[in-house]
């Protein structure tokens, strides 16, 4: 069994409903995300995929349970200890979450300026190197509003990779992109993962395409999880809800 980068132990997360009750998002969930592999978190809308990412990052508290990151329970961490743990992560948000008032260069340079003691010259060299690698040269003075959706994702990826993360989290990375751009972005993920060697966690609706990157699949359904070692194992599952999910997301591809 491979070493785990992230481990969910009996995690419970719920939200208050307007009628005073609780909506259960994760109900005593257990799974592990292996080091150096790509795990895809799949599931229908509202099943808690993005919440799972926010729990991993400590952006939301769990109701109960533990989330271990490289063996450290991050659910009890606060302040600088949590900040320190977050330096291990890179995140590509759904909308890229670029800072509107900063240029592409300034966006990508921000983590280096804030988290390292590098000189301006070193920062410039490192930023230009990653912009070249992600085919963004010539756009460094542009602002996020002047970029296409695909380019914004590339800039977001460049920024996330600056501190050489051990774990990369991708939240719906291809939402709003056309098929060609989607293909391009997934190729970029595969390439950068090979170069940097990070553990990837991808939350996506884009099931057929993202599955080709997956080493493991976690399906969220009604607060519970089903873990599959490969897309093929998932497709062979006889569980009715998995079968229905595969049919609804991959059926048209398989036919």
């Amino acid at each position: 069994m491979s070493e785990s980068a992230i481990e969910f132990r009996d995690v419970v997360k719920s939200f208050a409903k307007t009628d005073g009750g609780r909506q259960m998002i994760l109900d005593h969930v257990n799974f592990t995300i292996p080091v150096g592999k790509t795990t895809v978190i799949a599931g229908g809308s509202g099943q808690g995929k993005s919440v799972t990412l926010k729990l991993i990052l400590g952006l939301m508290p769990v109701d109960s349970g533990q989330i271990l990151v490289s063996g450290v329970d991050m659910t009890g961490l606060r302040g600088r200890a949590l900040e320190q743990l977050r330096t291990r992560f890179g995140v590509l948000f759904q909308g890229a979450a670029l800072f509107d008032s900063l240029s592409v260069f300034e966006n990508v340079a921000l983590p280096l300026r804030e988290r390292t003691t590098k000189s301006e010259q070193e920062i410039r060299e490192q930023v230009m190197a990653i912009l070249t690698q992600l085919e963004l040269t010539g756009h460094e003075e542009k602002f996020p509003a002047q970029l296409s959706g695909g380019m914004r994702k590339r800039v977001g990826l460049a920024r996330a990779l600056q501190l050489k993360p051990e774990i990369m989290l991708f939240d719906e990375p291809t939402t709003g992109l056309d098929p060609a751009m989607t293909e391009d972005i997934y190729n970029l993920f595969a390439r950068t993962q090979k170069q940097v060697g990070y553990t990837a966690v991808i939350v996506s609706h884009d099931i057929p395409k993202v599955f080709r990157l997956a080493d493991q699949i976690v399906v969220l359904n009604a607060g519970k999880t089903d873990v599959f070692a490969s897309p093929e194992a998932m497709q062979k599952s006889q569980e009715p809800h998995i079968h229905a999910f595969v049919e609804s997301t991959m059926g048209t591809v398989n036919k």
């Binding site: 005073g20 977050r86 995140v91 948000f93 909308g95 979450a97 800072f99 988290r115």
Partner: protein, 272 residues
């Protein structure tokens, strides 16, 4: 009394609703209290963002000079005219300088400056932070292990705390000059009595009172305005997306203006 159960689920009775509102208010106060603590703590956290502090000083302070200038000139001139007509009835026009300067230094200067800054810069700070929150920019900062308080909020706090007392001083000077123009140049009050009345009646205590008020009002404005934007998702009834930002921005300006007026009375009662 029987409370019917609605089709959509349990319908809560008024006591439950009151309790829920009470709990929400307590939670909100706790969140805002914690927010204030983290924002003030962020001012002392290194590295200090001097460039961002100067940018905020320019936006909140220098950017508000014109609106403060015109508000102060108008207020001072109106005070000069109104004061003249009131004092003239008792043959006490010579007290005009004293009346205008004390009113401006102790009350109107700090209050109107804070309300103007809330409307101009406070609303902008609230909307900026609200948009950053809904577009996950603040989450992105946290994920990069960058403290959003030190990076975003604390420079705004410090710049407001420095700018508002300075703007209040400007307000007082322009307002007193406006009162002088209206009273002396237009209505014919003796210039010597206007200036001498001001010199003899305004004490250091009055100036300190105005300064303390402007400092407290600055804290209220920046706390409420940035806090509403930063906590946009935790505010009941704010909704989601662009609508939530517009709602909390309105709320920020209204709440901070009301807070300024309430604290104006409290500070006057305590410090006068």
């Amino acid at each position: 009394m029987v409370f019917k159960q609605g089709e959509g689920g349990m319908q809560r009775n008024p006591v439950e609703k009151l309790g829920e509102t009470g709990l929400y208010v307590l939670q909100d106060m706790g969140r805002m209290g914690l927010y204030l603590w983290l924002a003030i703590k962020g001012i002392f956290r290194r590295p200090f963002r001097f460039a961002e502090f100067m940018r905020q000083m320019h936006f909140i302070g220098a950017g508000s000079v014109m609106v403060i200038f015109f508000t102060a000139a108008s207020t001072g001139m109106v005070l000069g005219l109104q004061g003249y007509y009131s004092l003239h009835k008792f043959g006490a026009e010579g007290m005009l300088g004293s009346a205008v300067s004390l009113t401006l230094i102790m009350e109107l200067g700090p209050v109107l400056t804070a309300i103007m800054v809330a409307g101009r810069a406070g609303s902008a700070m609230c909307a900026e932070l609200g948009i950053m929150r809904i577009s996950e920019q603040i989450d992105a900062l946290e994920c990069m292990a960058v403290d959003p308080f030190r990076y975003l909020i604390s420079p705004k706090f410090l710049a407001t705390l420095v700018s508002v007392p300075l703007l209040t001083a400007l307000f007082d000077v322009v307002g007193i000059t406006g009162g002088y123009i209206a009273g002396v140049k237009l209505m014919g009050v003796n210039p010597g009595s206007y200036l001498e009345g001001m010199r003899t009646s305004v004490t250091n205590h009055d100036i300190w009172l105005g300064t303390i008020k402007s400092f407290v009002f600055a804290l209220l404005v920046v706390w409420i305005c940035t806090g509403r934007g930063y906590l946009v998702y935790q505010i009941r009834g704010a909704g989601f997306g662009a609508q939530s930002v517009s709602r909390v921005t309105t709320q920020a300006v209204v709440y901070s203006s009301i807070a300024v007026l309430i604290f104006d009375y409290l500070l006057t009662a305590v410090l006068l």
